[in-house]
């Protein structure tokens, strides 16, 4: 197995161009598991841990641009106030040791339908920045996932960063798992309230071949809030509307029965998580509005 260790971003892109088969590795929390279990034996490994550019984050216009190598621990500690949904999801990743190593960039690269960072990225309309020696392109995260553990990257590309707007309103993330740590989601759900755009964002994890958005549920709930003028005068939302929102979120999923859970339970739990997440977020919004 060839081991490539670039020390700059330019060098990394050149190496990836020269060795398109090379498996990029950052924290190694996915890649090393695959290698250790002999599920995957890449011909070469491209170690990105020395590329300091990947560990930076900062403002990029109205977005935050976060390097692909920023760990979950740093997201929680440094960006928790601006990206509360992603921080909540990051807290549910593995264990402290795994959060110290694992990165959102790596999560995107693996593109597992169960990746914990994916639902909040979907719910906040994040953008993935991909780079190669030929240049850089930006792709909405909802177009990034193309299948189970497959994404839209070209062979010579690397993930440089992701871009996301700082939260304009409450965000939530919830996850059902067999235990409270070191657990891959049975299913998960992220929700974003954006009072500026009057937009509801959703993201569903571990309940379809890829992480998905519940489009119809978003539009339905936006309609309910618009119709009642609730963004301006936040009152409680009708229980039947909430129930319908839950149903629509569940309907957006395409779960299967697998070792972690049944399709039926995943749909049921998604509906509950959707209702509750909105309830928590809406309560927060109303409290803030009345202050």
């Amino acid at each position: 197995m060839e081991f490539l260790q670039p020390s700059t971003w330019t060098e990394a892109l050149q190496m990836k161009s020269a060795h398109p088969e090379a498996m990029p590795i950052a924290g190694g929390t996915d890649v090393m598991v695959e290698i250790n279990l002999d599920r995957h034996r890449p011909a070469s490994i491209l170690d990105l841990t020395r590329v300091t550019e990947l560990n930076q984050w900062g403002a990029d216009g109205e977005f935050l641009r976060i390097g692909a190598g920023v760990t979950y621990t740093r997201i929680i500690g440094e960006l928790g106030d601006r990206l509360p949904g992603l921080a909540m999801a990051s807290r549910t990743v593995g264990s402290p040791q795994i959060r110290n190593r694992g990165t959102v960039g790596g999560n995107l690269g693996s593109a597992s339908p169960a990746g914990d960072a994916h639902p909040p990225l979907l719910a906040t309309d994040a953008v993935v920045e991909l780079a190669s020696v030929g240049g850089t392109r930006r792709l909405p995260v909802r177009e990034f996932f193309t299948g189970p553990k497959r994404n839209a990257m070209k062979q010579d590309e690397l993930i440089a960063a992701f871009l996301v707007s700082p939260a304009k309103g409450p965000q939530q993330f919830s996850k059902v798992g067999t235990r409270n740590a070191m657990v891959i989601a049975v299913c998960s759900f992220a929700l974003t309230l954006d009072p500026v755009r009057k937009h509801i964002g959703t993201g569903i994890g571990s309940a379809a071949p890829t992480p998905v958005i519940a489009d119809e549920a978003e539009r339905f709930l936006e309609g309910v809030l618009d119709e009642g003028g609730l963004w301006e005068k936040p009152a409680s939302v009708d229980a039947s509307a909430l129930a319908r929102f839950g149903e629509l979120v569940a309907a957006a999923a395409k779960p299967i029965d697998d070792v972690r859970g049944t399709a039926a339970y995943r749909r049921h739990a998604l509906a509950v998580m959707a209702r509750r997440s909105f309830g928590w977020a809406w309560d927060e919004y109303r409290t803030k509005a009345s202050e």
Partner: protein, 798 residues
């Protein structure tokens, strides 16, 4: 954390017993200095990998090892023809081979083994071995095993079909008992299998020097490994030495002799070099020998006021591919129901089947957590039926100390009432607020302090201890294996107490078949009781010699010489030992323990008798989400009657560990298979609780001072697991009004039960039927006189 009972910390007249001494091996284990089998790397060590079956059921047509043998670095390749002799832990089920050359019976069954200069070469050589199979129809469930065999039976004994063992016993007049009942109820329960999940994977390393085999292994029972090696290697036992290496956890999973232990010895004999094999985590899941999945049917009659008149209990165990401890496990699913509740007439029918899965065997509580789960919930349902508080109903039926059960089990000390009172009071169970989504559950249990009969029939003691005193140094020799439970601490504490020393003054030599006398090993919660009594006897003999020598020297009568604080009379321990050695020659003493002959007069009575039973009671408080079914355990109160705590710190550790393991079994753990493959053979995906799932545990140590235990001590390692599991399910019922009659109690099952309740169906999740099983006619056994004569349980060795 835990709360010791007042009696524990009060002056009890002892200087060591009852004090929370740290474990003698604690520092070496937490600093990485303990030498586990996998840490050993003598010069020229070869590494062994094992080729295992990818099929759950297949005939082996041919095995071609020629390519593997040609690989550079490969020193030896062996197959089943090199180790054809069958072995097994029980004399009646010698059905395993270290390497199978005729037939494989589960995914993971060993076929060939390679010794090479490193592990990677050994693994590559295994890949280079080609095996031709004729694939057979696998049998994957109890129902399939009971049905007509499709291709061929898994084993060539037992039957009909894939039945391994059938048991049918009746004590007293059960039919008359049901006739006398005012209310009769039947229920069906299922307990899913789960595995031990020790931190340390199994590991063994063997040498062959001067015609003698030495094996260091991560085992719970050096003696049984010794016997199996002698049989399969066809060597006399005196040419084999088995040493227990530092141990990283067993829980019953290292109680069988294993293929890899035999294989490394054989490879060492062939190559003349040390050979080591450490199982991968995945292999550990397939080696298994864990909790049997058990389907259970129970019928009980009670009077209007809740007194049991008769019980009929049926079990069906999914045994996996081999016998292992299975015959004993089968009896255990019916043996201990009577040890907590006074059942005047009792019928038990048990059945174990073979399936093409890794063999099941003993796990903490061996065969008794499953029926305990069923029994505790069943009695609650009966209480609900007749409108009696379920705790009251249970208490009304508690057994009494100094009695004999209908199936001839002898109960001496019994702290059920006190354990129950402790947890009910501390938890506020009786005054809890009823609120949807929050609940408390209560359950009790009992376990043995060592099996009263050995695995193989013999009249020898079950444990022996030798003590040598030499110029002030005390060494105690015992075959007992410390698997983390603290048996070394117990031995050191007892010898120190008797000789007026501190535990750190006692050197221990344990679990070595060359240098230590026999102990049957760390299983069935027997070490404190049995090795403890042997140590006590040996230590008292040694003390008598020391006292006699001092008395003779000082001219004072022996009974005035005090033994305490490192002094014998007015002399230091060292001075006294020199006097005694001058008087008696080499200072050695020995003690042994043989359990009393208390088995009942019937076939099958060997499983269940124990010189003493521990008792536990538990209350679990939890939140159960009525929408998602997710359970969060808030707190566990548990009281354990340990007779006397030799070391309360270790007792509390055992109790907390039992609660931890019980919660895992209750809520998440499953040893489950798909197409013959384990669904989750990794520590990430086989879910057991983490720190984040573990609630606060309040432990109460109850001391009933057993008449035959060393200083009155009984077991603590297994019993406290038992009540936790039914208490969880009971608390879910308390919170949501639905019964989950199946372990594990998962969110999915709770949601489904709630859905059924909403639709007006039976508010439960669990099995609905018990299969038709061709049990033989019951052996009818006349019950014994139910009260014990006073004095019949006097301590033989004290």
């Amino acid at each position: 954390m835990g709360t010791f009972s007042k009696a524990m910390t009060a002056q009890n007249g002892f200087s060591v017993i009852g004090k929370p001494f740290p474990k003698p091996d604690a520092v070496s284990k937490v600093t990485g200095r303990a030498v586990y089998a996998d840490d050993m790397l003598p010069a020229r060590t070869l590494h062994c990998r094992i080729l295992r079956s990818p099929h759950p059921h297949a005939r082996i047509l041919s095995v071609d090892t020629s390519a593997a043998r040609r690989m550079p670095g490969v020193q030896a390749v062996i197959t089943g023809v090199d180790l054809p002799i069958k072995f097994g832990i029980l004399p009646v089920t010698q059905d395993e081979r270290a390497l199978e050359h005729e037939k494989v019976r589960y995914v993971g069954d060993p076929i060939a083994a390679v010794a090479a200069i490193d592990e990677e070469i050994a693994a590559a050589a295994c890949d280079a071995i080609s095996v031709e199979y004729e694939v057979l129809e696998p049998v994957m469930s109890i129902d399939e095993a009971l049905a007509e065999t499709k291709d061929e039976r898994i084993q060539d004994y037992g039957g009909p079909n894939n039945i391994h063992k059938l048991v049918a016993l009746e004590f007293g007049d059960v039919d008359a008992g049901f006739e006398r009942a005012d209310h009769v109820r039947e229920d069906v329960f299922f307990f899913q299998g789960n595995t031990h999940l020790p931190m340390e994977q199994h590991s063994a390393i063997a040498t062959f020097v001067d015609g003698r085999v030495t094996l260091w292994s991560s085992t719970q029972v050096v003696h049984y490994v010794h016997r199996a090696l002698a049989k399969v290697l066809e060597l006399p036992m005196n040419r084999i030495r088995v040493i227990g290496a530092a141990h990283g956890g067993g829980f019953g999973g290292k109680t069988d002799p294993f293929a890899h232990e035999i294989i490394v010895c054989k490879l060492a004999m062939l190559t003349g070099r040390p050979v080591k094999c450490t199982l991968t985590r995945e292999e550990v899941f397939y080696a298994h020998r864990g909790r049997h999945p058990v389907l259970m049917w129970v019928r009980t009659g009670v009077t209007k006021d809740g007194h049991i008149t008769a019980m009929h209990f049926k079990t069906a165990l999914d045994g996996g591919a081999y016998g292992s401890y299975g015959v004993a496990s089968t009896f255990y699913t019916g043996a201990l129901q009577t040890v907590t509740y006074d059942i005047p007439a009792y019928r038990f029918e048990g059945c174990r089947v073979f399936t093409n899965k890794p063999p099941c065997g003993p796990k903490r509580g061996h065969g008794t957590p499953q029926p305990r789960f069923a029994l505790e919930l069943h009695l609650e349902k009966i209480a609900d039926d007749i409108g009696i508080d379920s705790v009251d109903l249970k208490q009304r039926n508690f057994v009494k100390p100094m009695t004999r059960t209908v199936n001839w089990l002898r109960i001496t000390s019994c702290g059920l009432d006190e354990c129950t009172e402790r947890v009910l009071t501390a938890s506020g169970y009786r005054t809890r607020q009823k609120r949807r989504g929050r609940g408390m559950g209560f359950a009790i249990s009992s376990y043995m302090s060592g099996a009263g009969t050995a695995i193989y029939w013999n009249d020898m003691p079950h444990s022996e201890v030798q003590i040598k005193v030499d110029r002030g140094g005390v060494t105690a020799y015992c075959g007992a294996m410390d698997i983390g439970q603290g048996s070394d601490s117990v031995l050191a504490a007892i010898v120190a107490e008797e000789l007026g020393l501190q535990p750190r003054d006692i050197r221990l030599v344990t679990a070595d078949t060359d240098t230590t006398p026999i102990d049957l090993g760390s299983y069935s919660s027997r070490v404190t009781f049995m090795a403890g009594n042997a140590a006590l006897q040996a230590a008292r003999k040694m003390r008598d010699m020391l006292v006699e020598a001092v008395a003779a020297k000082t001219g004072s009568p022996g009974d005035t010489v005090t033994v305490a604080a490192g002094r014998i009379g007015d002399l230091s321990f060292e001075e006294a030992s020199i006097l005694a050695e001058a008087r008696f020659g080499t200072l050695t003493s020995a003690g042994s323990y043989t359990p009393p002959k208390i088995a009942g007069p019937y076939k099958g009575s060997g499983v269940g008798p124990s010189p003493a039973y521990s008792y536990s009671a538990c209350v679990v408080d939890l939140d159960a989400d009525p929408r998602t079914g997710i359970v969060k355990v808030n707190k566990v109160w548990i009281a354990h009657d340990v007779g006397r705590a030799i070391n309360p710190l270790l007792v509390e550790g055992q109790v907390e560990g039992s609660v931890y393991m019980g919660l895992g079994e209750a809520l998440m753990e499953e040893q489950a298979f798909r197409k013959g493959l384990h669904k989750w053979p990794s520590m990430l995906e086989y879910k057991s609780p983490t720190f984040m799932d573990m609630p606060e545990v309040e432990t109460f140590i109850v001391e009933t001072v057993d008449p035959e235990g060393p200083y009155g001590a009984k077991e603590a390692g297994q019993g406290p697991l038992l009540p936790v599991i039914p208490a969880v399910s009971s608390a879910v019922f308390d919170a949501l009004g639905v019964w989950i009659d199946e372990v594990p109690v998962t969110p999915e099952k709770i949601v489904e039960a709630l859905r059924r309740k909403e639709k007006g169906e039976a508010p439960r999740f669990g099995p609905v039927r018990f299969p038709s099983i061709p049990y033989p006619t019951c052996i009818k056994v006349e019950p014994p006189p139910r009260t014990l004569e006073v004095g019949s349980a006097s301590a033989a060795s004290i």
